[in-house]
């Protein structure tokens, strides 16, 4: 039950078609604006009629997203978007169902639904806006906030060791795991296209700036001056090289651990690890790499989706037993007649 493509001759869609009539209510400067723009940019290119898209979210600044998309949308309750979306996708595999969540919505209260959706490989496209803070509730630390973070609820610093969203996804054997950054417009667009193209559940962690309650959380990765040295771009089949002068790389040490090395002095490009999206352990290792911070597709593999498998069972049953006959069902088992 693949998603139906726009029938030929249908009017070409543009970004405007995906802009709703609601005025956007995020703080000026919020990273969510850029993410919204990239999504609205990519949607029309995907070749699916607008009415086939559904955006489902939980609660949070990020979760206001669906109101701004002129598609079908469901602003759910805190943390439950993956569960609502799973029910929709199972019963309507023809729809393209996108889940919008935050680091609190998706990893704190909603962590369980997220990991179950990923392990089942329900064909949802899950975008987690990670600003390392609870934005909507005005600034408490989140499960991705760094140790020692001072927030409203941790006046002398958080003592919670944070989740690594990519590692969490790898730990539950997700089939598509990627990371991008709110302001990296083109890269984010690529990731969105890849997620859509992936035949199954897709998870994208989007590093997002909350300029009100956690401004600059990702600055080293977005600052023009530093980003070349702090960001490692993952590309399947390409060596893991980075740096302003592309002079640094990642090597797999004999210990089986990753090493950051400088090219030259004995280290040649041949020693540099080549990225392989299909290699789970590699993705797991890269997930734990912080300096540089990898962005791109960590892992992609194929597994039947939950909804496919389920509908196949219905099909088989119909073929074996014919379409259900309710009257026959009523009469199952021992019956008797009273005159």
């Amino acid at each position: 039950m693949a998603e139906a493509a726009v029938e030929a001759g249908a009017p070409r869609l543009t970004r405007k078609d995906f802009v709703s009539d609601q005025d956007v209510r995020w703080c000026p400067g919020c990273g969510d604006y850029s993410i919204l723009a990239q999504v609205q940019k990519v949607m029309p290119e995907l070749g699916l009629p607008r009415e086939k898209f559904v955006f489902i979210s939980g609660i949070g600044c990020s979760s206001r997203f669906p109101y701004y998309m002129n598609t079908y949308g469901f602003h759910g309750i805190h943390g439950r978007a993956p569960a609502i979306a799973t029910g929709l996708k199972i019963s309507r595999p023809d729809l393209s169902v996108w889940v919008i969540t935050g680091d609190g919505d998706g990893l704190s209260i909603g962590g369980n639904h997220l990991i179950h959706a990923l392990r089942r490989n329900v064909g949802l496209k899950i975008l987690l806006f990670n600003n390392r803070i609870y934005g909507l509730t005005k600034g408490q630390y989140s499960p991705t906030s760094e140790l020692g973070k001072v927030t409203k609820s941790t006046p002398v610093g958080s003592v919670d060791y944070p989740f690594n969203p990519i590692a969490v996804a790898m730990g539950v054997d997700a089939t598509f795991v990627a990371r991008s950054i709110d302001v990296e417009a083109r890269h984010l667009q690529d990731m969105l296209r890849r997620a859509y193209a992936h035949p199954g559940g897709a998870f994208i962690e989007i590093l997002q700036n909350c300029n009100i309650f956690n401004d600059g959380a990702w600055e080293p990765l977005t600052d023009k001056a530093t980003k070349a040295d702090t960001v490692l771009l993952l590309e399947h089949g390409k060596p893991l090289i980075f740096g302003k002068n592309r002079d640094k790389g990642i090597r797999l040490a004999s210990s089986g651990r990753l090493q950051v090395v400088s090219l030259g002095d004995g280290v040649s490009e041949g020693d540099i690890l080549v990225h392989d999206e299909t290699n789970r352990p590699l993705a797991y290792m890269l997930a734990h790499l912080e300096n540089p911070t990898p962005i791109g597709v960590f892992h992609a593999s194929i597994r039947p989706t939950y909804e496919e498998a389920m509908h196949r069972q219905l099909e088989t049953a119909r073929q074996k037993l014919g379409p259900g006959d309710v009257n026959a069902l009523f009469r199952r088992g021992e019956t008797w007649v009273v005159e």
Binding site: R50, Y72, I84, G87, S91, V326, R331, E334, W336
Partner: protein, 621 residues
Amino acid sequence: MTLETQAVAASPAKRRAQLDRVVIRFAGDSGDGMQLTGMQFTTESALAGNDVGTLPDFPAEIRAPAGTLAGVSGFQVNFSSLEVYTPGDNPDVLVAMNPAALKVNIGDLKPGGILLADQGGFDQANLKKAGYTGNPLEDGSLAQYQVFVVDMTGMTLKALEDLKLSNKVAGRCKNFFALGLCSWLYSRPIEPTLKWIQDKFKRTPELVEANTRALKAGYHFGETAELFAVQYEVQPARIAPGTYRNVTGNTALALGLVAAAGKAGLPLFLGSYPITPASDILHELAGYKQFGVLTFQAEDEIAGVCSALGASFGGAVGVTTSSGPGIALKQEAINLAVMVELPLVICNVQRGGPSTGLPTKTEQADLYQALFGRNGDSPLPVLAAATPGDCFSAAYEAVRIAIKYMTPVVLLTDGYLANGAEPWLIPRFEDLPPIPVRFRTEPEGFFPYLRDPETLARPWVKPGTPGLEHRVGGIEKEDVTGNISYAPENHERMTRARARKVAAVAQEIPPTPIRGEEAGDLLVVGWGSTYGSIAAAVDEVRARGKKVSQVHLRYLNPLPPDLGGILRRFGKVLVPEMNMGQLITILRATYLVDAVGLNKIQGQPFKVSEIAGKILRLLEE
């Protein structure tokens, strides 16, 4: 439930006596197959044209040690030539396959009742396990009963001697010997059971042979042995004609959901998480794949209800099933359904509470939770089923109302209905009430919260419909447009609109049927699984000429429009509930009627005598 016997022209061999009603309880170890024995005896009785009522009672532990009190399993059948409302209070006949079964059940046997004991089961080991010092079958402690000690195990083994089965396997057939014996004693046809044995064991012919022999051995033993002077007969009851089958409440509920979805022409989606005693609904529906039924075993109850709501958003009939503790977890999401106004059916198979409580016992203490268990002003229709078979119509009605009014609906059943079985007059799908569905498709003049003037329902739009793209959510919605709105007046308008919509469901409620006169000295008002006990009790006191009537509520919210008037026509109002008094709170608050409660919180249904006794005491006051 008196045992009226009258001698009739006795056959030379045995005297024959007519009875109008017999209650028999089969009791043994969990391993002795008493549930099966009881169900087969029920089927024989139904096929003999009797009305029947049953009550299975198995241990809470998965596997309690054999022979212990904790391991005793029982099955009670009430069969009669008159109408049957309950499994009966105290059995006229107790079949005890071991000492533990005797100890646990003998207290319930009517004085002068028949005790059928399996001598083979009463060995030293078993007596000890049951905590007997001596052998109650011999020490005269059972003098007040008609005791028949029959070596069922021994005779079963003898009957199967030449089949070279292990004693263990052969011994397991003794329940069929017991069944055969009882079948003879009450003139039941054993053919249905013979046939049943054929299909059931068709893969293992030696078992077909063994069980058949055991059954016949028991039957013939009754006929030939000197032991029994009398054979009893129970004439067929006057029952509505038609085709019947036995259904448990959980099966009937599952059938009701499938039928309703079929009638509406929509896919059925169940999002659920296993919990006793609701799990069987999930198991049933998981087997209906050819009907396009989607069953999703979610990671928890919250995901269960959320997935069902997501499916409803997609145009399916979203259903979730659980029991008390699971329902508590679902409330936040049910409230989301109240706000987004989508059809959703929440089935609560109630069990003993609070907290984990008594998972395997029955109770009806979740009415408050259904009516009031959410934050904010959060009205929704609440329905309850009265009997196992009634779970079918209640479920069907719940779906119909959820769709017509675009609202979550709570359906309350309980452990007693869920596992209890009764003969069910099988309906024709064609005859079931229509469930019209109209998905909005025309963009002109579309507003997500523009309400239908009659039902106040908002339009249902399937994602995928061009031009009707819209967003729903749990923040207060602006009237008509459905945009987010924090405007004070709008919130009041919408809150009242949601309340009016649910109140409008009252137009679905037929005039309240009253069992008995329209007015009188006392009205018994009940809901849910207490129906049978109340009906039997009311009949009993009416038989004594008391001016007592019964009203049993299917709709708990909204209440029937004519209920207030009815209440006022009676001197007193009695509200029996298997809780500390919940419906009574609603009735007192709504109608300011000084209703009196009868409350039993024992994880067990009311005995008819308990209710009848209370009625009589009230009438005397």
